[in-house]
Symmetry: C2
Subunit: 99 residues, 2 copies
């Protein structure tokens, strides 16, 4: 099942790592515990809207940018979850090849 919190966690973690910052630094700046931020990044806890705003602020990214990345990741996951079906030969061609 595709879950928002997992994609959101991945986006927040990759932004933090691109900035070369530790969980501790960002958690302190966002005024939440290191363990809680870690759970959010791993997609194990839902971030409340207030907390998400605080984490984006601590990372210096706009929420709209973070959510745009999340939307793109969701779209990619949806493509994998619902792939284009393989072409199935129709009944006539199956019958003719069996003859």
């Amino acid at each position: 099942m595709i879950l928002l919190r997992r994609e959101l966690g991945d986006v927040l973690r990759s932004v933090r790592r691109e900035q070369g910052r530790t969980l501790r630094e960002v958690a302190q700046s966002a005024q939440l515990s290191l363990g809680y931020l870690s759970e959010i990044e791993r997609g194990e806890k839902e971030a409340s809207s207030e907390l998400l705003a605080a984490v984006c602020d601590a990372l210096g990214v706009r929420m709209s940018e973070a959510l745009l990345s999340v939307s793109q990741r969701l779209a990619a996951a949806e493509e994998v979850a619902a792939p284009v079906p393989l072409p199935v030969p129709d009944a006539a061609s199956v019958v003719s090849s069996a003859a």
Copy 2:
């Protein structure tokens, strides 16, 4: 303060209304109470990731599409919250006009 749950609620409500469907119909299809869906649409409750997936499924929209709309709404709200500053005349022009 710009909050994800408010923008998300607005998007879910507008999708439902565009489809001409009632809260009751969508809540039944998503297997949650009418009151809870109403609170989510009004941005009063955070939807868990599982619940958001169920509501998107009931509405027949991809989560990625809903989140893209949310991202666009957040961007518009961020522009309003942090407007471009008005141009301020520089000291020289103020001095010359006072002379």
